[in-house]
């Protein structure tokens, strides 16, 4: 668990981070989003003491940050950056084994761990172990970067725009992989990005920052439903907000049971997002879809009118609350 209270960072007269409070529960994925220069990276780097804060407290697993030796602290916090920061003069295997080596693990254990991580991140050992970073594509290098951060099995992972420099297709692929990795490993992750879609997709807890302040934080759904001000709303996509929210909900949460009428000829899997369902309705000129399970057997029905009505009800109930 990471807890920041009243944390500020000033560079000279400039205040980069202004008295922020933030709590990241163990095993949760927290995304810091904002325009460039909003202090999100600074916040991240204060956690592993690459930057020392000017005031406030940071508590890590119940202990004040000062109680840790900075070098040892960093060895137990995984860190991934945009340009990967891989060491160009080391092979992939050596890069990944860095932190275990610093921790003086026995050579055999390091070897085993490196192989394990390369398998985990889809890097075939015989193909990649002896390659140098400049021989890798952007996506491969970023995988190595993630593997290196995970090497000593840290509880906490800090990621500073890790996918920022990748092409859209590779980026989405790596986001999916990170999401499934997190589903298995349950690390406490602090993830900095300026890409709201990325944040919405990955985060349990979303933090919007501007000018060194936290404008709003909460679950992605909560922020989408109640953006606090026009800034958060525009960051969340303005008019596209409805679709982004739909992207966070599954078809099966909105389907109704099969009625007496014949199911629609257009089918969609229950695990797809509502956004994909809406897109299909537009494409296929229909307002009804048959929802099927993984064996392509219809299990329910999705109707545009019902979705809209539900959204209205939701809005109404919120107003009351």
């Amino acid at each position: 668990m990471i807890e920041l209270s009243q944390v500020s960072k000033r560079f000279g007269d400039e205040t980069a981070v202004d008295a922020i409070n933030l709590k990241v529960a163990k095993g949760k994925f927290c995304a810091l989003v904002g325009t460039s220069g909003c202090g999100k990276s600074t916040t991240l780097r204060m956690i592993n003491r690459l930057i020392e804060r000017s005031s406030g407290d940071i508590i890590l697993d119940g202990q004040a940050l000062e109680a840790y030796d900075p070098v040892k602290l960093r060895r137990r916090i995984g860190y991934v950056i945009q340009s990967t920061g891989l060491f160009p003069h080391w092979t992939v295997a050596r890069n990944i084994g860095l932190v275990p080596r610093l921790l003086k693990w026995p050579a055999d254990d390091i070897q085993t761990r490196v192989e394990e991580l390369m398998a985990l991140l889809g890097l075939p050992i015989e193909e990649f172990a002896h390659k140098y970073p400049h021989q890798l594509s952007g996506g491969q290098a970023q995988r190595v970067g993630v593997a290196r951060a995970l090497a000593a099995d840290p509880d906490i992972l800090l990621m500073d725009e890790p996918f920022g420099a990748l092409d859209p297709i590779t980026r989405i692929k790596l986001q999916d992989e990170l999401a499934s990795l997190q589903g298995r490993l349950h690390k406490t992750v602090v993830f900095v990005t300026h890409d709201m879609d990325e944040a919405l997709k990955l985060a349990d807890h979303l933090v919007v920052m501007r000018d060194g302040l936290i404008v709003q934080q909460g679950t992605p759904l909560a922020l989408l439903q109640h953006p606090k001000d026009p800034f958060v709303e525009s960051l969340l996509g303005g008019l596209e907000r409805g679709l982004k929210q739909a992207a966070l909900t599954r078809v099966k949460d909105h389907m109704s049971s099969l009625g007496p009428t014949l199911p629609s000829q257009y089918r969609i899997s229950a695990d797809f997002s509502l956004r994909q369902a809406l897109s299909m309705m537009l494409r296929d000129h229909t307002d009804r879809l048959a929802v099927v399970d993984q064996h392509d057997v219809p299990i329910g029905e999705l109707s545009l009118r019902k979705i809209v009505k539900e959204a209205q009800l939701e809005k109404g109930s919120m107003r009351e609350a």
Binding site: H89, L102, P133
Partner: protein, 398 residues
């Protein structure tokens, strides 16, 4: 890593335009071959020799063969392609290998065995053709995209052949006679030269490294230190030797301990001090730049991974700086090899001795005896350190 590597490697194009470089070099060589003196003949060491053209030196068949080979280089270059370039390379190497035999023929024709003092000098066309052939070799290395190794081996083979010819059959060659007259002295001079350069470069690596580290620690030092080093570099070498003479002589006279360890106004001590002074600037500059150019992202990653300062320096910064750092060592060493020649003037020995003695005696071949090994030494060091730096580039980057 040498100057030549900065040139882009042109792509091979089959049946493209003629290679203008090789064609023009071939034409120039032909003109030089027929227009200038190939060798000179002198009845003794001091008298100026009389020049002899190519026909007089190696006869019509020899001149014909040389012209043919030179034309072949130009002809092959008219239709560029890998095979033709390889053939041209063969012609170049063959010419280089035949050159000492040309001298043998010339000495057979021109030197009267009845005159024991008579000697054969190497003429202008011989030197020029040798020089142009080396340029051809460089051009062909680029065109054929060869590594350093193959041309290096070829040159080593040709050099060995020359050495063999010179020591076995070319007794009449003035250069050989100069060498034979003082072979012990020559070997000692080569040894002295190498030791002087080695010690000077070794000391400047240590001092330069320390100075560069201090500059990184105390940034304010940087400006003044570079100013001083730049200033040292502008003093003419002879003047620096002169400036050191008086204070060192005084020290030797007044501090007996220093005199005992060999400090004196002339000799090795001032030579080494001056050499180190000159070597420091390129050494410090390259070391400093090498250490500073390491990407801050990489270094920050090292910190973030939990490397201590020392680990960061030895495992990341230094290995990444090494190629540029070695470049500094290379520049410094080549420069020191040349400068050490001047050190002969203050009695430090080395190959410069022959240059200045030869100048004093108007014996040009003795000057060559000093100058040629310096050239060879510089080229060897340049190639060796260049190759080392290349080999140390991590994973063959760039």
């Amino acid at each position: 890593m040498s100057l030549l590597d900065a040139l882009p490697t042109p792509k091979l194009r089959r049946g493209g335009y003629p290679n203008a470089v090789l064609v023009s070099m071939s034409i120039v060589m032909l003109a030089v071959l027929w227009g200038l003196d190939a060798v000179s003949v002198a009845p003794n060491r001091i008298v100026q020799g009389t020049g002899v053209g190519v026909l007089g030196a190696i006869g019509l068949p020899g001149a014909f063969l040389a012209s043919l080979l030179i034309l072949a280089i130009g002809g092959l270059a008219c239709q560029p392609g890998r095979t033709n370039y390889a053939a041209a390379l063969g012609a170049v190497v063959l010419l280089l290998a035949l050159m000492p035999f040309g001298l043998m023929v010339a000495s057979y024709f021109l030197i009267d065995p009845a005159l024991p003092q008579a000697r054969l000098g190497i003429g202008a066309s011989y030197w020029l053709i040798l020089f142009i052939l080396l340029l051809c070799l460089i051009e062909l290395r680029l065109r054929l995209a060869l590594t350093r190794l193959l041309p290096g081996l070829l040159l080593a083979g040709v050099g060995l052949l020359w050495w063999l010819c010179a020591s076995l059959w070319l007794d009449d060659l003035a250069l050989v006679q100069e060498f034979k007259a003082r072979d012990r002295q020559f070997m000692r001079a080569v040894g002295q030269h190498i030791v002087l350069v080695g010690v000077a470069v070794g000391v400047s690596i240590v001092l330069g490294g320390l100075l560069a580290m201090l500059m990184r620690r105390f940034k304010r030092l940087q400006k003044s230190a570079f100013a001083v080093l730049n200033f040292l570099q502008t003093i003419p070498s002879l003047a620096l030797f002169g400036l050191l003479l008086a204070p060192l002589a005084w020290l030797a006279a007044n501090v007996p301990v220093l005199a005992q360890v060999g400090v004196s106004g002339i000799g090795n001590t001032p030579a080494l001090i001056a050499l180190v002074a000159y070597s420091l600037l390129p050494m410090v500059r390259n070391t400093y730049i090498a250490l500073e150019q390491v990407s801050p992202d990489t270094l920050e990653a090292a910190t973030a991974m939990g490397m201590r300062r020392g680990q960061q320096f030895w495992q990341v910064r230094l290995p990444l700086a090494l190629p540029v750092l070695l470049e500094g060592v290379r520049i410094t060493t080549v420069q020191a090899i040349g400068l050490t020649a001047v050190a002969a003037l203050i009695g430090a020995g080395g190959l410069g001795t022959f240059i200045f003695q030869g100048l004093g005696q108007a014996a040009m071949d003795m000057v060559l005896l000093g100058a040629l090994p310096i050239l060879v030494l510089a080229l060897l060091v340049d190639a060796a350190l260049g190759a080392l730096a290349e080999a140390l580039r991590p994973g063959g980057i760039q």
